[in-house]
Symmetry: C2
Subunit: 119 residues, 2 copies
């Protein structure tokens, strides 16, 4: 006869305790969601390229587009995402808009990622 309510790993009751403890220890759902959203921003090569370009100097949209060999529109859409996530800030000067990195976390996060790759 089967236990219909049995969830999994039935034989090892230790696990049930583990699971309960874990549920308490995990950060709130929403925070984990936000964290994933943040990493999602880094998870696109166009945006990574933009950020890398901004490591060197502040840049206007068309220079970024030219550097990456992409259209102004595509870059503008991605800058919007970066802006919304506070990874870049901007400064208007006449017709141009100059973008730059918002803080040092960006660099550190990317560096950590690079370190992981080099293994």
């Amino acid at each position: 006869m089967k236990q219909p309510e049995a969830e999994c790993c039935e034989e090892l009751e230790i696990h049930t305790d583990t699971v309960e403890k874990l549920k308490e220890l995990l950060p709130p759902e929403e925070l984990l969601y936000d964290l994933a959203e943040l990493f999602k921003v880094f998870g696109d090569s166009t945006r990574i390229k933009i950020l890398y370009a901004l490591f060197e100097s502040e840049l206007c949209v068309c220079d970024i587009a030219q550097t990456l060999g992409m259209t102004q529109t595509a870059v503008s859409h991605q800058l919007r995402v970066l802006k919304a996530n506070k990874l870049v800030k901007f400064r208007k000067e006449g017709k141009n808009v100059f973008y730059s990195l918002d803080d040092d976390h960006v660099r550190r996060i990317i560096d950590q990622g690079m370190e992981h790759l080099g293994e």
Copy 2:
């Protein structure tokens, strides 16, 4: 009369230099792509939750599933992704497969992300 070959920011010739320098300074296309791929892995709340759970202890698949309130199948698919990107390793013990974090970069990358959020 229009210059058809003009790319952008025509008036400021400084920019053309900037762009050329930038193109040299940027890491190779492929590396940036790989980096984005890595962050993409962190860019999903299910995978973030799995990693957080593994911060505490090594876990078998069904415990992870139960902790997250998800199906075994969904978790298994995501573990596959984490495994492929060397973020987790595993150890087989009879019917069970125990997963754990592969290295400390995982923790550091996530911590940096969290720091960025708290601002």
